[in-house]
Amino acid sequence: MENIRIVLPEIENIHEIETYISNGGFKAAKKAFSQTPGEIIDQVKKSGLRGRGGAAFSAGLKWSFMPKSTDKPKYLCVNGDESEPGSFKDREVFEKNPHQLIEGTLITCYAIGAKTAYIYIRGEYHKWIKLMQKALDDAYAKGFVGEKMKETFGTDFYCDIYIHKGAGAYICGEESSLMNSIEGKRGYPRVKPPFPAQNGLWGNPTTINNVETIANVPKIIENGWEWYANIGVQKHPGTILYGISGHVNKPGVYELPTGILLTELIFDVAGGVPGNKKIKMVIPGGSSMPPLRGDQLEGVRMDAESLKEAGSAIGTAGVMVMDEDTDILKVLARITKFYYHESCGQCTPCREGTGWMLKTLNRMIEGNATSRDLDLLIEVANNIEGNTICALGDAAAWPVKFTIQRFRDELEQYVKPEVELPIYNKVHSMRETTVPLGVNKR
């Protein structure tokens, strides 16, 4: 296994600005400022860097959507809301290498022409907000951020960075909701299009990237895009901060190249399952990604393409391992409860559907469900998926749909042929239900 560290180098006290500087810190920024923004975007594009916030979208391509000639101010939002269950890697960056994140922010601002960046950190991360603020204050004091940059770097360019605290809503990690939150509005995702590059913060061109994505940038500039493109797998290069949790001996965040075998990650890196128990389920990318059965893990590699092929997705690479004793129904109900709780409630399918699924799953836990309820759950999930404003709807639907599909036999053990339902006086019309939809016309 290669020992390449890009985002979390093994250098003691690198979180302190002096250490960061003495290890070549802010040199990448200086190098970047001597080139044109277009050249920076081009290098990042060629490096193959893909977003680490869930969708694995090409960072350079995203930056290139920013309008070049505009009178409007442009913004960068660095997304550190990190609230997906199973995801806890961005906080490592805040804690262990904050200055590289700041440097990456400077370079990205330069590339997209932003003079203001917000680092949005989830509200519960009190400790990390403080650490990040301290790092930012130090960087300002040393003239690496803000107007003093002009002197420090000898350029005309400068930008300001602000840390924005979330208030405890998962949905504010969704990029358009995050912008509303920064604007002081309710954390409601926006209807897209228009996309943030056209119409973002306060209606101005905006780029949103994940913390880890941005933290990669200085090293790409420093070592060149070819260097980066050759790490890990070709279509999804670089390293990933894998966050491994659940039934493993050594849970934690590990920085390793993309494309590592999932089994290698679990058994070698994370020390295997306690008591050598069998694995029942692995969620490879944070709780919203489709789960894999224990017998589906062989040969699966941790990168966007391989996981897609395996019937899941890389997400935030938060790998959750569950052993043979795990109660799948309870896991599913708990995950569903999370999305139910975090749905912003704006759009109908997610607002109503998440609650419906949760109620049905809870009824199943109480032993009052039939096999038909499993089919119904899949239908409800399908009716949410793809029909909502933001991807939280999909995030709520996938675990339900794929868990039932992949663990049907086990879940069938919870159902009965006949049950007592909370509702017995449902409304049914006399209408023939065989009539095709939409033909009942007034």
């Binding site: 759009c347 609650g355 049905t360 309820d373 793809g386 939809l437």
Partner: protein, 560 residues
């Protein structure tokens, strides 16, 4: 013009239009709850999901820009599946308390459930409960259970009423509407949210539980509350007006009306203090007589006055027809020049939205139908000072209440030898009158008003008086009017013994041997058209439901 195809039909659209707008302009309705033509797009209800060819996912028609060559399906299997799914989601937690819901009969949830629902519930869980009967403000009651979180009320308040008072609170299916801390939902336009709320979540505290929607007739008319002349529907059951709602007219009021107009311009029609039959005062005794007799008495009393001794007050509350008849009568029977009307302007009560400072509906109408001093005639102030001096001895007042203007006016009226008043309600002036003739209210007659920018608009009768038949004037009918028999108590509300002012004047003219002899308001209008070129070429049909801009007032329109 660029074109797109919806359900196999090619339609034109304007650049920048969304699919839902293009469809609407071509008479194709794409179901929607949250979208409203004059509010920002929120895209939250998801009922307008449609299929676009070459797109993997369905898109919402309200936010998708129409594009040349786009192929849209609103009835494809995929679309219907999604629409039905959304309907099902909306219904699972809905209380379905239609039997006691004010919205029933005009509820979009009912309508789309009927059109697009399976008619079968798959929901085996307990429904969510939320707060009910929350008074959001002095005029609005909120039912959280019924709310479908479409945000129309919030967007209306922010964008149209320019009053940021409402917000969503909570998340997920706990979301509900609240006023901001320390705020009341009390802006001058709150009741419009009741109209645009697709369900019965917002109800009018004035109207709630008063009637089933289908038991009322609705009549297209005009609010007389100010010179805006908002287009409205008047809702009547048992010959009683129960509510007013705004009627779309993009030239005048868009989709809105003010709360004041909505609540304060109809109750006087239903009121107990209507002038119901003529009133004659003789030796300080007031006797109620028939309208015929009242007219005879008036003719006897008034005929002895010369032009210099008599004055006539028209009214900006009365129609063009009433004012025209009065002006014509005054000139024809008395050669009178002392003609004017009272202005009601309150500069402190206006805004940039709808409310105008002129608190009458027809100032321009009164002016342009001849209610102004003739050759060396007296204006309104001069009329009152000449009354005080004893030079003006008789005053004929149509649909106004000068005694309420000031003590000065009131005292002047007491000096008159003869005060004839045509009035809808009892008031300070009728108290002083020698003869009161019962005028039909604006809700009981045909006629026209001219609004502040010169738009001529029609009012129509919604309430019947004693001498009227509903079928006459093509009055609209409710279920009760159609199916109630004389043995039912349904359609038997009180009928006032009153006549439109133009009619009273016409009768009076006849008694005095004059030539004025109108049978219908339309007759009066046609005569007005003949004698006044500002109105030339017009008739009631041309004015239509949305009114017509008078050329002669184009300048007025431009300067306002």
């Amino acid at each position: 013009m660029p074109k797109l195809t919806i359900n196999g039909r090619e339609i034109d659209f304007k650049q920048g239009q969304t699919v839902i707008e293009a469809a609407k302009d071509n008479g194709i309705e794409i179901p929607h709850y949250c979208w409203h033509p004059s509010l920002s797009v929120s895209g939250n209800c998801r009922v307008c999901l449609v299929e676009l060819e070459k797109m993997p996912k369905l898109v919402i028609a309200c936010s998708t820009l129409a594009a040349e060559g786009m192929v849209v399906h609103t009835q494809s299997e995929k679309t219907l599946q999604a629409r039905n799914a959304v309907m099902e989601f909306l219904l699972i937690n809905h209380p379905l308390d239609c039997p006691i819901c004010d919205e029933a009969g005009e509820c979009k949830l009912q309508e789309y459930a009927f059109d697009h629902g399976y008619g079968e519930s798959r929901f085996d869980e307990m429904k969510n409960r939320k707060e009910k009967r929350v008074a959001l403000g002095p005029r609005i009651m909120f039912d959280g259970d019924r709310c479908i979180s479409c945000s129309r009320c919030i967007r209306f308040s922010d964008e149209i009423a320019k009053a940021t008072q409402l917000t969503f609170v909570q998340r997920g299916d706990r979301v509900t509407i609240k006023t901001f801390p320390g705020e009341e939902f009390d802006n001058p336009y709150t009741l419009n949210t009741v109209d645009i709320c697709p369900v019965g979540a917002l109800t009018s505290r004035d109207f709630r539980f008063k009637a089933r929607v289908w038991d009322m007739s609705e009549t297209k008319t005009i609010c007389p509350g100010c010179s805006r002349g908002c287009n409205i529907e008047m809702w009547v059951r048992n010959n009683e007006i129960l509510r007013l709602t705004p009627r779309e007219n993009l030239e005048v009021n868009e989709y809105w009306m003010c709360d004041w107009g909505r609540l304060n311009t109809f109750k006087f029609v239903n009121a107990r203090n209507r002038i119901d039959g003529a009133l004659i005062r003789e030796n300080e005794v007031i006797t109620k007589v028939s309208v015929e007799e009242g007219i005879s008495k008036t003719a006897q009393a008034i005929q002895k006055y010369k032009a210099s001794q008599i004055a006539f007050l028209g009214s900006a509350f009365a129609t063009c027809e009433d004012n025209f008849s009065l002006a014509k009568f005054a000139k024809e029977s008395f050669s009178a020049n002392n003609i004017d009307f009272i202005r009601y302007v309150d500069e402190t009560n206006q805004d940039d939205i709808l409310i105008k400072p002129d608190k009458t509906p027809n100032t321009l109408g009164a002016k342009s139908t001849g209610i102004k001093p003739g050759n060396s005639g007296l204006n309104i102030h001069e009329i009152f000072s000449e009354i005080k001096k004893g030079n003006i001895k008789a005053l004929f007042v149509m649909e106004d209440n000068p005694a309420a203007i000031s003590d000065d006016y009131k005292n002047a009226l007491k000096k008159l030898e003869l005060l004839i008043v045509l009035s809808v309600n009892e008031n300070e002036t009728t108290e002083l009158a020698d003869i009161v003739l019962p005028a039909a209210a604006y809700a009981e007659k045909n006629g026209t008003f001219i609004n502040f920018e010169g738009r001529l608009q029609r009012i129509r009768p919604a309430v019947v008086t004693q001498n009227m038949e509903r079928s006459l004037d093509g009055m609209s009918m409710s279920r009760l009017d159609k199916f109630g028999t004389k043995y039912d108590s349904w359609a038997s509300g009180h009928r006032v013994d009153a006549q439109p002012s133009w009619k009273l004047i016409s009768m009076l003219s006849q008694k005095l041997g004059g030539k004025i002899n109108y049978q219908t308001a339309e007759d009066v209008f046609d005569d007005l058209v003949k004698s006044n070129k500002e109105f030339s070429g017009l008739d009631y049909d041309i004015i239509g439901e949305k009114g017509t801009q008078l050329d002669s007032f184009i300048k007025v329109k431009e300067t306002v």
